[in-house]
Structures are given as structure tokens and as C-alpha cells.
Symmetry: D2
Amino acid sequence: MTLRFGVVGTGAIGREHINRITNKLSGGEIVAVTDVNQDSARQAVEKYQLNAVVYQDDKTLIASENVDAILVTSWGPAHEGTVLAAIEAGKYVFCEKPLATTAEGCRRIIETEMKKGKKLVQVGFMRRYDSGYIQLKHAIENNEIGEPLMIHAAHRNPEVDESYTTEMAVVDTLIHEIDVLHWLVSDDYTSVQVVFPKKTKYAHNQLQDPQLFTIKTKSGIVITVEVFVNCKYGYDIQCEVIGEEGIAKLPEYSSIVLRKAEKLSTNILNDWKSRFMEAYDVELQDFIDSITKTGEPKGPTSWDGYVAAVTSDACVKAQLTGEKEFITLQEKPEFYCETTVSEIMK
Amino acid sequence: MTLRFGVVGTGAIGREHINRITNKLSGGEIVAVTDVNQDSARQAVEKYQLNAVVYQDDKTLIASENVDAILVTSWGPAHEGTVLAAIEAGKYVFCEKPLATTAEGCRRIIETEMKKGKKLVQVGFMRRYDSGYIQLKHAIENNEIGEPLMIHAAHRNPEVDESYTTEMAVVDTLIHEIDVLHWLVSDDYTSVQVVFPKKTKYAHNQLQDPQLFTIKTKSGIVITVEVFVNCKYGYDIQCEVIGEEGIAKLPEYSSIVLRKAEKLSTNILNDWKSRFMEAYDVELQDFIDSITKTGEPKGPTSWDGYVAAVTSDACVKAQLTGEKEFITLQEKPEFYCETTVSEIMK
Amino acid sequence: MTLRFGVVGTGAIGREHINRITNKLSGGEIVAVTDVNQDSARQAVEKYQLNAVVYQDDKTLIASENVDAILVTSWGPAHEGTVLAAIEAGKYVFCEKPLATTAEGCRRIIETEMKKGKKLVQVGFMRRYDSGYIQLKHAIENNEIGEPLMIHAAHRNPEVDESYTTEMAVVDTLIHEIDVLHWLVSDDYTSVQVVFPKKTKYAHNQLQDPQLFTIKTKSGIVITVEVFVNCKYGYDIQCEVIGEEGIAKLPEYSSIVLRKAEKLSTNILNDWKSRFMEAYDVELQDFIDSITKTGEPKGPTSWDGYVAAVTSDACVKAQLTGEKEFITLQEKPEFYCETTVSEIMK
Amino acid sequence: MTLRFGVVGTGAIGREHINRITNKLSGGEIVAVTDVNQDSARQAVEKYQLNAVVYQDDKTLIASENVDAILVTSWGPAHEGTVLAAIEAGKYVFCEKPLATTAEGCRRIIETEMKKGKKLVQVGFMRRYDSGYIQLKHAIENNEIGEPLMIHAAHRNPEVDESYTTEMAVVDTLIHEIDVLHWLVSDDYTSVQVVFPKKTKYAHNQLQDPQLFTIKTKSGIVITVEVFVNCKYGYDIQCEVIGEEGIAKLPEYSSIVLRKAEKLSTNILNDWKSRFMEAYDVELQDFIDSITKTGEPKGPTSWDGYVAAVTSDACVKAQLTGEKEFITLQEKPEFYCETTVSEIMK
């Protein structure tokens, strides 16, 4: 059985997923595309030699009987509408972050999905599919380090351009940490506080960089996350979980070891694509396989999209106030409690 | 375009490749299978829910018009016959090692392929597709360590069973080093000498373990390879290239880092499948993609199979004599000189 | 020339220094000892076969013409009186932490020393003599990582006994970080805030463990220090300085590397003595050498003792309030501005 | 008690030891010096402000009643005569390598010392005092890796000058490996073979560089030692012991870790002095302490000097013949069997 995808949004990330499904993964096929820019949609079909229909808009694409799953890779503000329509039509959805630009939007999606009575949506938080994070989660769940007490994380980019704002450190960057860290320790966030260290000379005028977030969870775990988007030296994701019996830390990038010019060195990557390329592959293959085998996706849910939205809002508020801000979630519906786990996590 | 495979041999490795092509990779399909044990062939079809015909033998399978490429995963002594027949029929071949059990057999394949006038055969030396070895090769070719002068390699398995003989240290184990190391430095072997260190108590009576091979190349590179198949602690592949300006070494297995019980540790694997699983995927995907896009496979050729066979013979002889044994290859035909390189290596 | 020491306090740490000066270092000699427990003083003389007079109290010992330098290793509350008397007598002082138990006490010492017109006092902050911290400081001063923006530090002990209180996490443990970190970045502290993560089950009832301190400096550097005194896995001191161009981190303990039982591991120490043993040696040798060659000690001064006291007070207050507490230092007197640096730092 | 040294040879290494004993270590004093260049001897006295008599030659220095121990740091060919005279006079000897330039010379020293009936001589093989090698030896003796089967070692210098010959790779460089490796595994050598890899362009015309030695021991351990004295990248000593249960490897140089310019790196040293500086200190302090406390030195003996000489001879012969050369030692006298071990090794 082949899962037939309709793609909404044929920009950079959309095309990457089209290529992935067409040329690298098994069991999926692009059969429909659309974009607000119809030319872009047509060019994508041509470039990847797709056997796919170009639709006028997301509504008609979703309505097509040939489409099983909607890949939402349009710009953020358009996500909510497409996702809601797809759910109403009973189609599967793979939606890149954000699920919706507001917590209210996410709540609407949750309600619609629950009313439909079936988990249909997966949000594109690919870190959960990274082999390093999976090893970390296994170590925690196998009690290799005892009860987690703290996490020290860092998200470092070599540089950003002038359009990157202080707030984007949360909504574009920290959001990946927000998703992956609560999943890692199976806990919920309760508060966040932000401190701004001395600003690097490489940050433009309006940008506060680096930033240091201190986040607390329901069970009392304290998480520090450094976000530093002009660190110059490379793209570097660090995560260290401090437990009662020991500490587990993400692997460094797997690199040959050089002895040269009085240095013993390994390479650090300089872009996020190389860092998470494999995770993107595994993520989409898992989406295809889980649906094909079990009838529902097993990755990050609409609820996870909602958690990310609420937490982001509090983090942005904390940037402005400098005070501790609380993160208040609705009660988690039974519907979203994990009963099964993807094969990939075993 | 989909590359249609016929599988000859549905044992363990055959089934792994069937699963890989069917459920993980893109662009290939299993349409035909055969095995000396017809029940095994039928069970494979059922298990992987293949839409494939079960043939009585390799000859009829090769003859099928629906088959583009033959996957040779039968037992070693049968390889040569199947490969020759496939070439005669103008079919592509992916053949697990050995290409043939004798150097003469390999020569016959080379001659047949050259007469056919087209590169059709790829031998299953998957190490060339391992990201660590690829990084090493790039480092050498980008002149990061200068001219290579020595290589120190080690191949360690946790343990082997009673059926593993001293000779198998060459034909089953060292053979992977033989293939990958001459490729790494783009050189040919000229001689080999073997020393037997003190034997581990974990080796059975007839088995000499560990063994130390010293191999020399045409340009004078000296390669030491330790083969140690009862090392107990894990499956561990080491390779360090010493150059005029510096040294490059394979990465260790990418593992989370633990601080626990007065140890700072990472994990070592204990089986070869996990170590090279990704390389197997990349290898077969490259076979499919290269043929689809360029009309010929770009991986290890029949010539590489011949080099491995001749070198193995010398290594086995060196085990018996304790003396330096020479490795004498025919002149390499123009036909096999690489003019193009797979995308994967770029 | 030999520097003649009088030791005030012959408990554990006092005896270690006696042994060090007598049997490991060059240029120093123990000629006088005293202790509130006269038996202890006499036993120390016997045990280390010292050619030393046992004095009745610190005053008479200080008064002795044979004594050049006073080694203050009595219990904390007694330090101030001994140090003041030694300064008045014009004797050199090596005083284990704390210089005095209150900031006021430290100020009295500073005033007395300034009135005397000569730097006489060195405080026993041995970390500045650790080769790892020295490498870090050199890296910063040689501009290898650009301007420092953040520091992430951790101080972990395997365990503490029932007598260890929440406050001692500051006055006994954090105090070493307090001293070494402002020295590292040549900056002063301005505020501190404390967060208490989930408590480890290994901490006794009254003890909050771990604790997380966020300290800010005048120039805006943000320092996070994790203090975790029941971490179980070992004695582990971490320090990472994040700069505008790169990051520098303390080395791990220098250990052989083991491959065993599917782990690649190095050893972690389990006690502070082994960790800083060499630093203690270098520290006291530098005290002896600096005085012998230049007439004054070059290590941590009375001013550094005062900085540690004021900062400790603010940290303890922050433990109680949970709020940001300010660290207010007097203007640093010209007298204590480093004009020369010890040879050891070059 | 102070051990009074007479120094024979006030060149570079002699002066380093003079400085070490005078300014860094405890319990030793330089009371006498001599040199074939009397000016050099006088200058050393002045430079280090020694309270020492300048003697005309080694004989008169040895005869002095004020001298307890002779430090032999003259040029190699003079060692034997001085050592013999010192033994005859019943004086302790610390002799830099070589003990004598021929195996026969070493035998004469052994015989003289045995006749004297007391171990008086220690040879300056400082590696046994390096904390890394001591950790390795402990790991082996505590059976952490099981029975040793192989050793892979490398000795790399950044460069050598035109005066360095192929033979010096043995007598100046390999000699340290020769001493430390048989001590490490408590075994004796039986044969050696040499292979010359492709020569680095950085080696001058007459110099074969690198060289690869394969040495076998009585119990069957196979040792490979790479000697590469123009490796350019740094001074690097590697040693890995492969045992039946696991592998133990020397630590890398303890360096801060840098993240900078897409590299994660530590520093490699570029000279041997920094690498073994601490070992030199510990070595001489142990010489002083062992004599002071037990009446005899506990370090490498005359027998070890003899083993090094015989093994060197075989290695040089193997360089010339390209064949396996045997290493034949006399029976080890009871006199030199270790009955006690230095404290430093516990």
C-alpha cells in the first residue's frame, strides 16, 4: 500500500519533503500539489518529475479522492485553516511547525480532531526522531541515570540575518527544545524566566543574543536552555540530563578525528540540515509506516503542537517582563495519552 | 522508473535486502525470487508480502523479462555461475561477497563483463558507503593529512563460534579491510606478512586469534591490520591513516555520553549489523539510483572483487608460511578505471 | 634562602600542608606549630619528624623571630584574629579559606594590611593553580574565544554527610567557584539568584540538593553554577566559558581509556584531594617562591577573600528569598590591583 | 636527612636536574659539580646559586666525602667509566640513558654492582614515572583487561634536524619504548623485525622515516611500534595494550577543549619536555625518597639498562637486514628481581 500525499506549499521545506518522499523513502507518493503561487507548484511537479495534479487551493486538493495525507508546508499563518479542513475531510496531516500561530488555534485543531474521533495529525518536530535524542530517552526510561533532576541544553547557530528578532529566538529556535525536552522527561512545563547575558558584538542592533531560559516542570525538574544564534563556530545542539544516579548527554556529531597542526580535533557542523537530515528521513518514513500499519500516525500530536504554542507564549512574555512567567496548560485529554509508541522508539 | 529485482538466495542476508528494498528504500521492487530451497523462496514472498514470482532456479529467473537486476545472496560457491549468466543476459548484478570463490572465477567474470562492453556488476562491499570511511576518503583526497604513509587498522568481533577457522579470519573478516583500504588510498597491494601473537584463551583449539597482518602497497604504504575475533568487549572497527602532515581516524560509534559510577563512558556496539546498517541502506539505494540515472552501477566493481580474491589468497598463504608473500595482480583494464563517481561520494 | 613556617592549626588540612612543605616542596621548612589542642601539635611534630617548636598559642608563635610566614589552618572563626596579629607583626600569611567568617572581618584585614603598606596575605584558593583553569585563563587572555559572554559551571561531589547544610553549599562548596570564576574573567559580581530543582532522594531531609545559581557580573557575563553534592557518580568539576568566537572548557580528568564490556570509558575521580592535589603543591610552592624572589606573595589576596565573603553572603540570602540579590563591593583599592603576576601564570 | 648530589656533566639535561633538585624537589642538594668543560661547571654553580664545590673530574668528585649520590649527565660514551667508579666507591648513581653505549659495558656495570652487593644505580627512564603509564600498569596488574596479547605504540616527534640518523630512531627514540613496554607487561623481548614505509618528504636524504618495529616477547605478546620523527603535527606518544578482556590506552595530553571555527579540539604538545616534565620531577623525587627511606633506589636498574642495550643492538641490526633478529639476554640474576616496589607505584 502506498500513502498518497497532497502537498500544500511548495517552498523550500515543501520541496525537500517532496524529494524525500519521492527519492529516498518507501511507501509514499506525491499525487497532488498546491501553492498560493501556482507557478511554484507547477515547477515543483516538473523538477521532481512528479505524477501529480496541481490544484488551485488547499480546499480542492484536500477534497481529492486520490489524496490520503496532507503535507502542510505553507507559511505559518495558513497552517490552521488547512489542518482544520483536512481533519474535517478525514485526511491524515503532516504539518510543519507551528501547528497554528496561536494557542487558541491549536485548541481549535485539538477539538476538531477529538470530535472526529481519530488521531490524524502529526506535527513536524523531527528531533524526536534523532538517534541521539532517542538514545537519551532510552537511557532515561531504562533508569540508567535515575530520576532526572535538571537538564542543561544549548541551541547554537553560527549566525542569523537582520530579519531575525529577539522573539524568533523563541518561536523559531527554542520551540524545538520546548517540544523535545518535555517529551524526553515525560513532564509538563510550569514556569519560565529569561536572562539576557552580555550581547555578542555579532548580533544586530535589535537582537538580544545570547539568551538564557530557565524552565521548570511540574515534577520540579529545572531546565536551562542557552539560545545563541550568532555563536560563529558552528551549528551545535547540546543536551545533558542530570539524574539522581548519573548524567546522560547527547553525542557530538560523528566525525573523523584529526591530528594536525598541534590540534586533536573533530568537525562541528555549520548548518541544521546536515545535523537533522537523517531525523527528517526517519520522521516521514515513520509517518508513512505508522499510518500504513496501524491506521494512525505515532509522532508528535496536535496536543504537542498546543503545548509548544502555550509554552512559546510564556517564553515571549518572559523575554519582555524579565520575571518568572507561568505556563498554564489545559488538562490533557485522555485522547492524547500515548497508548502505543512508534516502532522507531523501541 | 522502478528497478525490478530478482533475488537469488532467500537466506538471512537475502531477506534483509528484500526487506530493505521493499520497506526502506525508494525506486526498487522485488519481482522475482528463487532459492535452492523452494520453500524458503515461497516463505520470503509471503513474509514480506511481495508481489513476486517464485522461480525454479537462477537461470529461469534471469531469463524473465520482468527482471532488471539480479541480487545474488546465495552461498558463495554458487555466485560465479549466477553472475556469469546474468551478465550474459545483460542484467545488472548486485552480488554479495565473494564475487567468486577463486581468483580465476573472478577473472572469468571480468572477461565476460568486458566482452559485454558494459559495467553491470556491483560487489557488496558496503564499507565504502559508511559515512566514517567516506569522511576519511574525503580527508585524504582533500589533502588534509598529506600523502598517506601508513594505516593502522583493527577488526574486532566479540566472539565467534567453533566453526570459525584461522583461514576465515581472512576470507570472512579481513576481506572487508582488503577492499576498503586500497580504495581509501587509491593504491594496490604488493605483499603481506602475518604474525600470530599470544592466543587468547577465548579462541577454540584450532583457531589462531588474534592475528596481525602487515600489508604493503605499490607506493610503499605500510598497513597493519589486527584481526581479533574473540575480543569480548564489542564489535569494533578501527582505521587510522597516518599522513605526511597529520592523521585521520574513523569516528567511534555515535553514542550518548554517560557519567556514572566513576566512569565517563560511551557505548560500543556488539554486532556488525548495527555498525553498518546505514551503510547497507546507502549502498543499495546508490545501486538503484546510479542505474536509474546513469545506466550503470557506481560501486565496487568486478575488478574490486578480483583484487579481494587475489589478496585473500596471498593472505591465506602468508598465514601458512609465516613469510612475506607477494600479491600479484593483472594489469588493471582501462574498462575498470573510474571515470565517474557516485553522487554519494561527493 | 628557606622560608620558615609557623603552623596555626594541626588538624587534617594543617598536616597535609606540613607534609607537603616538608617532603614534596622546595624552599620551605616548618619551624613552629601550635594548636588549641596542644597534643595534636606535639603529635604532628613527631609524626613528620619536624625540627619545630610547639608554641602555646598563635600569639607567641607569631612573635617568634624564627618564623617568617604563618600557615593558618585552624577552624574558620579563629582565622581573622590570627591573620590580623600576623599582619601587625609583619609576617607573611597563608590562610586557608575563609579569610574571615564575615565581610566585616575581611575588611578589617584589608585595612590592617593596607596600613602595614605591604601585601602579606595569600588566601588558599588553590583552583587558580590548577593547570586546567590556568589553560582556560590563558585561552581567554589570548583572545582564543573572544569576549566571554556566559559561563556554565558545575560542582559535583559524590555525597555529603548529615552535617552538611543547604547554606554550606555556598560557604563550603560554591565559594571555590566564586573565587575562581571572577578571576577567570577579570570581572566583579553584581547579582545572584538561586533556583532549587527537584531534590535528589540521596539528600538528607534538611538539605536542598542540587541547587542552581545564576550570577551576573558588572560587564554582563551570566554565570550558571550547578552545585550538586550527592551526585553519586564522582567528584566532578565542570567549567565552560562561552565567548563571542568560541567556547573553552576545562579538561576532564586525565585517565587511561578503556574498551571493555561494550563501553569505551575513562575514569572519574571520587574525591577532591586527588582532583586538586597538584594544585595544592603548586600553590604553596608559588607562595614560597614568590616571597623568596619578590618579597610578596602573588596568589589570591585579602581582597579576594573579601570578594568571596560578600558574594557568599548574597548567595546565602538568595537561597532564603528566592529573589535576585545584589552583590555590592567597596571600590577596589589601588593597593590590590595586580601589577605583577606569578611566574606560574605565564 | 638530605641527599647530597655530585653532578657529572653540566650541559642542558644536567642543568635541568640541578634546577629540579634545587628549586622544585624536597630532600636533595647539589654539593658538587664537574664537567670536562670546567667553565660550564662554574657557570652552573653561579646560575643556580649553588653552595657547591667544582671538581676537576668525576674521580675526585666521586671521592668526596660530602657526596652521597652521583648524577651522571655527561655524554653517553663517558657514562660507563663514571658509573663504575661510583659503584666502586659505594656511591648511589642516577645515570641518564644510556647506562653504557654497549651491552658489554652494561654487563660490566651489572657485575660490579653485584659484587658490591647492593643496588646503587638507577637509570633515567622517566616514562615509568609518567602518570599515564602508571595507570596503564595498574590496569594490567589489576587484571582490568585480562592477559595482554598485543601492544600498539607510536612515538612521534614533530621534526628532527639533519644530524638525526636512521639508527638514532632506535638508540635515541625507540629506547624509551623498549624500556617502558617490557616493564609494563613484565616480560622479556625475544625478536624484532623492521619495515620501512613510504618515506615522508620531510625526512632528509639519509633518514628513513617513519619506521615500523614488530617486537615479540617470551610469552608471545606482539608489539608494534611506529617511530615517526617528522610527523609535523606534534609530539605524540601513543600506547594501547590489547588484552583478553579489553583494551587500555594512554590518556591524551590533558588540555582544555575548544569549540571554534567548526572544530572541536584539544591541544597536542610539540615538545617532549612538556610531555614528561612531571615524570622527571617524580622520578628524581622517588630516587631521593627511596634512598632516604630504604637505603636503595627503586627505579629502573642496571639490568634494565642492559636490557635496553641488547634490545637496541638487535633493533639496529634489524634495520640493516630487514629480517627477524633475535634478542638474547643473559639469565636475569636473582639480585635484580624486584622484591619491593617504590611507593610511587602503589
